[in-house]
């Protein structure tokens, strides 16, 4: 995970639940099998209502949008770790939400798939899908490239180095908490 993340944003509303992020019919895919990990990426946010813009274009394995901007309670519902994994596999590097459901937040950190940022103010009215932004992980800011406006993000604290190390196990090995296998 790099210190700066520059990408186009995909904007969503409140209460994006894990059934929308990865519908249950795809939970027969096992994330630790590489081919199925990639397939999960192609299905990221395929549960969005009919008529909603697609996060991953048909036939693609990755999204054009490396950052998701969302409202409150992102990732609510089921505990399926397939949810942050599908997003990460699709190329999402960060979510910037008003707030998170706790299991999704914990899973995003444990897997290291994406940075779960919280914005201090609601950003969903400030951006539209396709806008280009840059997140500075260390300083905790999001900059809109079109006009240079800077938005503060809540500090990630202890979470940032865990995600940077690739998740819970990577972090534990990096700091000597457990020995490398």
């Amino acid at each position: 995970m790099s210190n700066r993340i520059r990408a186009r944003v995909f904007v969503l509303g409140d209460n994006i639940d894990t059934d929308q992020i990865i519908p249950a019919e795809h939970l027969n895919l096992v994330p630790t099998i590489p081919e199925e990990y990639r397939r999960l990426g192609s299905l990221a946010l395929s549960g969005l209502p009919v008529g909603h813009e697609s996060y991953v274009a048909a036939g693609s394995e990755e999204s054009a949008y490396g950052i998701i901007i969302a409202g409150r309670n992102f990732g609510c519902g089921s505990s399926r770790e397939h949810a942050p994994i599908a997003l990460g596999a699709a190329g999402c590097r960060a979510v910037v939400a008003g707030s998170y459901a706790r299991i999704f937040f914990r899973n995003a950190v444990a897997t290291g798939e994406l940075y779960p940022f919280e914005s201090s103010e609601s950003l969903t009215d400030e951006f539209k899908t396709g806008d280009e932004v840059e997140i500075d992980v260390e300083s905790g800011t999001l900059t809109r490239l079109a006009d240079g406006r800077v938005f503060p993000l809540a500090p990630l604290g202890a979470v940032a180095p865990v995600v940077a190390a690739g998740g819970m196990f990577g972090y534990a090995r990096a700091v000597g908490m457990i020995k490398a296998v």
């Binding site: 209460n15 929308q20 096992v30 209502p49 770790e81 299991i103 897997t111 998740g167 819970m168």
Partner: protein, 431 residues
Amino acid sequence: MKQTITEKIIARAAGLPSVKPGENVWVDVDVLLTHDVCGPGTIGIFKREFGETARVFDPEKIVILPDHYIFTKDAKAHRNVDILREFAREQKLPYFYDPGTESYCGVCHVALPQQGHVRPGEIIIGTDSHTCSHGAFGAFATGVGNTDAGFVMGAGKILLKVPPTMRFRLDGRKPDYITAKDMILRIIGDIGVDGATYAAMEFCGEAIEALSIDERITLCNMAIEAGGKNGIIAPDAKTLAYVRERTDKPFEIITGDADAPVEASYQYDVSTFEPCVAKPHLPSNYATARASTDVRLDRVYIGSCTGGKLEDFVMAASLLKGRRVACETCLVPATTEVALDLLRTKIEGKSLIEIFAEAGCVDVAPPSCAACLGGPIDTFGRSRDGETVLATTNRNFVGRMGSKEAFVYLASPLTAAASAIRGTITDPRDI
């Protein structure tokens, strides 16, 4: 130091005299639960991180209950059960409830207590958000993802942030048309789907004490729908009677200090409650059944850990006896034990199975999670485009039961039965 029941359980498991909300502590895990959807991924992580030949931390503390995609032709679903089977054999796990054998149980959150794996005062971690159900027995029970579970599988411990407690006191005499499902839908309607995020939802009061074990499970089951970290009810004589019938393992009865500080307090008089629904597409979208009688139903679905236990079926049968359903009514007992109970439990001499058959319900399906969460295309009860379903399940997000173009209303088994009889959403008092 005054502590709530949740704080005391966590403190004991952490080997500490006390804990405070917000603290991060390492606790020993008493039970790790997984199933066919998350088990293979959890095992993959366990082997990747601890080694291909690693041994689980304690074979007696791992319970594998396949339940999600069992009665399907889906090849990957079968492959996933094979992965569990192979792992159970390799690790000599005594508690693997193998589909296609006599030991198969069905829905993990109903089978776990039925098989004696839920005891008061313990730490139960499950790769499923409805693990919070087991707080009904006075345990600390919460859902996690594959990575956390893979860690527990090898290490036997987990890092927990101590949740603040929100206390819900429910008093008053419960009318016979009100169920635990109505109570929890009312609470979620009041506080919202993120009203209890990161908190322990503690339920107490005379109406809670009067609830049966099945009803307490229904209540705690939906704590996650308000974002709760866990739901919990102090153990009492009913709890002990149930648990002691199913396990000889010793356990410690832990209760909280009545005057322990809590983050928020809510009081309810259940005698004022009305039968209700959660309208599409959020569990917090509360409305009374009486305000929803214009909704025509294509299907009524009675099943899942939330609404497919014996008492849920007794409630439904009590209304369906001697009547006919007006719309397709699907019944999915949660476990093999519940399925047997449908045969052996009688109302005025008629078994529940007979009552349902004479009412014109679809033949009872084999026990599993079935369509609560949609599942593979051939899943029994899976929702279809344009359909309106009333279900005794726990979630009604877009696409939850299968089709993105279906509408799901959540309700109690009484409201479900009443609605099946009319073919429109119906308050059980109006039958």
